[in-house]
């Protein structure tokens, strides 16, 4: 998960960091768990092959959320938002990070 997260961080244009009004930007990345079959990611990987792309061993497809939160929202609450709504812990894992 960490490797995937770093990959996203370098390739997805990050939103601007929090502004002066106490609003922070938070990114939540959600991916299907490794043991959960991801037929959508597999279809993307196969399409790459048809485009002539080689060397891509696997693709997993997930979701990327950008939240604007004020300073009343702490890390524990962010984790709660991710675990109870943005991701389904039965089938997905997630990473929460503040952009600063």
């Amino acid at each position: 998960m960490t490797e995937v997260h770093e990959f996203h961080a370098t390739r997805v244009p990050c939103p601007p960091p929090g502004n002066l009004d106490g609003v922070a930007r938070v990114i939540v990345d959600v991916l299907p768990k490794a043991e959960i079959l991801d037929p959508q990611g597999q279809a993307v990987a196969r399409a790459m092959g048809r485009l002539g792309v080689t060397g891509v061993a696997d693709v997993r497809q997930g979701k990327h959320f950008e939240l604007e939160v004020d300073d009343t929202v702490g890390d524990a609450e962010l984790e709660d938002i991710a675990a109870t709504l943005l991701a389904n812990p039965v089938i997905e894992e997630w990473v929460v990070r503040r952009v600063s």
Partner: protein
């Protein structure tokens, strides 16, 4: 017949099968009661059906937004206290997302939307299956793109061990459902979810069989015995 049993049928924005679910309740001899996603209470119904469709456009995950809508608060509370609740297709997804049932429904293996008549084996006696005998096979339609039941191995083992696999596909599941599971129940057998659509199979004029009617006659009996007890 259990005249007077009132069965709530919830409509969310994007629900499709509430009309057929209400019709199935009437066919079975009960009184359907329409419930709206924004309702704060269940109007004193004896059971609740969460029907199929694409609530909230399947945004976020199928059933995820509906599971957090106002009416689901009392549904979860009552379901945990023994009120019979049936989730069909999107309703099954909603009950899993709401935590009333274990596991999750994910994209079909092979990505195809599956729309066909399927055989199911009834494997457990619950509030929704008492009209069947355990081992009986029924035929009902399946129509879903995210119907692949998944849970971790420990959860699947527990469900099997506790007799909570209520319906199993009789042929290998076209959606790739683990262990061919089509439907499961809560520990007390009062809350049941399944991907196929019994409400579309209550009359041979309009469905492949009338087998599905058994779920609705079952719950009327369950509601009556609860009222009598």
């Amino acid at each position: 017949m259990t005249a007077g049993a009132r069965v709530g049928v919830i409509t969310f924005p994007g629900t499709l099968d509430d009309v057929d679910a209400a019709r199935a309740v009437r066919y079975a001899g009960g009184e359907p009661v329409g419930l709206w996603h924004d309702d704060a209470d269940l109007r004193g119904v004896d059971a609740v059906i969460v029907p199929g469709g694409f609530s909230y456009g399947d945004y976020l995950r199928a059933g995820a937004i509906a599971a957090r809508s106002p009416v689901m608060g009392p549904v979860v509370e009552a379901g945990r206290s023994g009120l019979p609740v049936l989730g069909i297709c999107n309703g099954f997804q909603i009950l899993c997302e709401a935590g009333l049932l274990p596991g999750a429904l994910v994209r079909n293996q092979g990505l195809r939307f599956v729309c066909r008549e399927v055989g199911l084996r009834v494997e457990a006696e619950t509030a929704w299956t008492s009209s069947f005998t355990v081992g009986q096979e029924i035929r009902v339609p399946l129509k879903s793109g995210e119907g692949r039941y998944v849970a971790d191995a420990a959860t699947l083992d527990a469900l099997e061990g506790e007799g909570r696999v209520v319906f199993r596909y009789t042929a290998p599941a076209a959606n790739g459902a683990l262990r061919d599971i089509a439907g499961v129940s809560s520990a007390d057998g009062r809350v049941v979810g399944l991907m196929p659509h019994p409400e579309h199979a209550i009359d041979t004029l309009t469905g492949p069989s009338a087998d599905g009617l058994g779920l609705f006659t079952s719950v009327l009996a369950a509601a009556l015995s609860t009222a009598a007890g």
